[in-house]
């Protein structure tokens, strides 16, 4: 069957199971848009190409499949850069398709020509220029395989306009991926495996560090069996949240810079750390010289480059988390860690009194309360998509996720502006799920134009703006480390509720604690998107905090006294 390159692209995407494409048109990709119109694919028109990449990313993270974003050459492609980097740092499978000028003028600084494969080389897992229609089907299939296999990541396919327009024979069978053969590494070194088993069975104070890789691997069941077999307490990274139910007594919560105090203390006291699908990010370890000094370490990790990168380990099991865990579990014989678990429970009890939930009601509205109420009202069942900043950390602390892929957040790049578009993508991936956006007043202003996308697509998500009138997380650093010199962090915002109305979205503004639950309930009852502007305490801080580069043992804790009174103008 002879088709144009553009038609081959649409047909290939359809056969790969794609339903939605998030994109924005322009000259160099117009042939594809023409073909899109005749295909069964649904195109979601975004308001900025960064939004398209975050939507594809949110789609991928919520579904476990591949998200697809599309843009034209030149500025369309460069607008994707932040979203691609976001997906790269969090190992998210996104395929970006960009139009490129015709191959005949490549390299001539033609109108809207930009070397997007050159630009994105360090921030993609792979990228490629296609200049022949007959290569499109195979290349797109290869892009999907690369994006979703092993350690996932973004792939960019740059297709020249003449390749989109030319005709070629479309033969799906003949266009199977032809990726270069790789050396098959023997992953499970038997000596390493035996050492790991021995460490597991001799540990007195073991602790699991559970990461994003568990979700990527689909290892939740194998992980639970492993946890039960050894009766191991579990700490999670930010991106590991959801891989093991928060309601399980063995789940301790988040580790790291804003992790729970008892978790960080347990890490420092443990005699064995079992890291599964996590990469010892510096937000997780703090100062490496003082990190978990009394612990031996086992690292279960698919990417060999992560072994001994930040933390030197005693046994490295390179491979897919599920496979490794399934092999390991039958060898576990020691499971009596009750004294250790009781000890951690005591640490936890000591922390509870400092918790903001336990502070007397001062009549002020605290972000933690808002998020905790959202958690209660949604029974912990919603998909929550957060932006970057204080609200992100409060969400991690106060929304207790029981299911995988229900917290979607930018961890590695920490991209402000991520939440709103990523939530749109997540909603397309899980149309029946309740999707909440938790976002700061700063980050929301970065990509709020996507409200128009919500309206155009008639989708139903709930947006909670945690509005503290500051770039809160940066203000917190200024408070702690720069003597409260608040340079460039006080932030003027529009009236968000009125703004929502202007887009045709219901908007609410909340200033009192008593109003929180009712507004959440009424938002949940609505079948349309609702935006709620929560005017929270302006100068609250996230506790505990391990300062960047400090030891995990040195946590800045919430002062016992109620917060300093600050003027919150409603």
């Amino acid at each position: 069957m002879k088709l144009t390159g553009a038609e081959i692209l649409c047909e290939s995407l359809t056969r790969l199971g794609v339903r939605e494409i998030f994109g924005y048109p322009g000259g160099a990709i117009l042939p594809v848009y023409d073909a899109l119109g005749k295909s069964k694919l649904h195109h979601v028109l975004v308001r900025h190409e960064q939004g398209a990449t975050h939507m594809a990313d949110g789609y991928a993270r919520a579904s476990g499949g591949v998200g697809v974003a599309m843009a034209t050459s030149g500025p369309g492609a460069t607008n994707m850069v932040t979203g691609i980097a976001t997906a790269m740092l969090d190992s998210s499978p996104v395929v970006c398709i960009t139009g490129q000028v015709s191959s005949k003028v490549l390299g001539s600084d033609a109108f809207q020509e930009i070397d997007i494969t050159g630009i994105t080389m360090p921030i993609t897992k792979h990228n490629v220029v296609v200049s022949h229609a007959e290569d499109i089907a195979r290349t797109v299939r290869e892009a999907f395989v690369i994006a979703s296999s092993g350690r996932p990541g973004p792939v960019l396919v740059d297709i020249t306009k003449d390749a989109q327009q030319a005709s070629a024979e479309f033969d799906w069978e003949a266009s199977a991926p032809q990726l270069p053969p790789k050396r098959q590494r023997t992953n499970h070194d038997p000596a390493e495996f035996d050492r790991a088993v021995e460490l597991l069975n001799s540990a007195k104070r073991p602790l699991i560090l559970a990461g994003h890789g568990i979700m990527v691997s689909g290892a939740m069941r194998a992980f639970e069996q492993f946890v039960r077999a050894g009766n191991y307490p579990v700490a999670m990274t930010l991106l590991g949240i959801g891989c093991f139910p928060a309601s399980d007594p063995l789940n301790l919560g988040m580790m790291g810079m804003h992790g729970e105090a008892w978790v960080n203390n347990a890490i420092q006291e443990a005699d064995l750390l079992i890291a599964v699908g996590m990469r010892f990010d510096d937000r997780v370890t703090g100062d490496l010289r003082t990190y978990a000094k009394s612990a031996r370490k086992i690292h279960i990790e698919i990417d060999r480059a992560e072994i001994n990168k930040n933390v030197k380990v005693d046994a490295a099991l390179v491979g897919d988390a599920r496979e490794v865990l399934e092999k390991l579990t039958p060898h576990i014989v020691t499971r009596d860690h009750d004294a250790w678990i009781r000890h951690i429970a005591k640490l936890k009890g000591d922390s509870a009194v400092r918790d903001i939930q336990s502070l007397p009601d001062t009549g002020h509205l605290y972000a933690a309360h808002v998020i905790n109420d959202i958690w209660k009202e949604t029974h912990g069942e919603a998909i929550v998509v957060t932006d970057v900043g204080q609200h992100q950390m409060w969400e991690a602390q106060y929304y207790h996720h029981n299911r995988p892929r229900t917290l979607i957040t930018s961890g590695g790049l920490g991209t402000m502006g991520f939440a709103l578009p990523a939530a749109i993508g997540a909603k397309f991936a899980k149309p029946d799920a309740e999707v909440w956006v938790v976002v700061g007043d700063g980050g929301f202003q970065m990509t709020m134009s996507e409200l128009a996308t919500i309206v155009q697509e008639k989708i139903n998500i709930k947006i909670a703006i945690i509005n503290n009138g500051f770039l809160g997380m940066v203000r917190q650093w200024q408070e702690f480390f720069y003597d409260k010199r608040y340079v460039a962090t006080p932030l003027v915002a529009p009236d968000f509720a009125a703004l929502a109305n202007a887009f045709g979205i219901r908007g609410e503004r909340i200033t009192k604690r008593a109003e929180v639950v009712p507004v959440i309930r009424s938002a949940r009852e609505s079948t349309e998107t609702v935006l709620i502007d929560f005017r929270v305490e302006q100068e609250d801080s996230v506790y505990p905090m391990v300062a960047a580069g400090a030891s995990l043992s040195d946590m800045i804790r919430r002062p016992n006294s109620p917060l300093v009174e600050t003027a919150t103008e409603p």
Partner: protein, 179 residues
């Protein structure tokens, strides 16, 4: 200094990916050579990098993550045959020429071009040997020099061959699962 050997796809842009990776890892490359192999689809690289064992592990593992790299291996600890080739243009007048010729013999270099005021020498061998020759030539006046960079091969039965089998069945499984 660490030495890595890599088999890569013999196509445009691959060198850029490899060097871009080293730059991103903040690893300074001392020399990088690339040339064809007996299989025309595959090129072979020898990378000599200013880094320690940990850095070399990171580079090796990261290189193997590149789609276009079939294999990368740190061979620093193995028995290696290493060769560098240099062309050295040295100034030579009637007076010092005989002395120069003696040195050339000692280092088993060859004279490959003769001009009234200069000679071009060709010398190959281990890096230290070439460095040694350069040292003694310096007083004569080294006018120009070109070096190929190091190529390395593990000795004897220690074979380092590129994987050439069909794409792994694992990836084919991923392809058929998409949908």
């Amino acid at each position: 200094m660490q030495t890595l050997v890599a088999y890569v796809e013999n196509k445009p842009g691959v060198l850029n990916r490899v060097s871009s990776l080293a730059r991103r890892l903040a690893i300074n490359i001392d020399s990088l050579t690339v040339g064809p192999t007996e299989n025309e689809a595959i090129a072979r690289m020898t990378i000599v990098a200013h880094t320690d064992e940990k850095g070399a592990h990171r580079l090796e593992a990261s290189l193997e993550k590149l789609v276009d790299v079939r294999l990368a291996e740190n061979v620093s600890d193995r028995a290696l045959l290493e060769r560098d080739l240099a062309l050295i243009k040295v100034s030579a007048d009637q007076q010092n020429r005989p002395h120069l010729m003696e040195l050339i013999k000692v280092f088993r270099a060859r004279v490959v071009d003769v001009a009234p005021e200069s000679l071009i020498l060709e010398v190959s061998g281990a890096v230290e040997k070439i460095d040694g020759l350069l040292e003694v030539l310096r007083p004569f006046g080294v006018l120009e020099m070109a070096r190929s960079g190091r190529i390395s091969m593990t000795r004897g039965g220690d074979l380092l061959r590129p994987p050439v089998s069909a794409p792994s069945s694992e990836l084919a499984a991923v392809d058929s699962n998409l949908k």
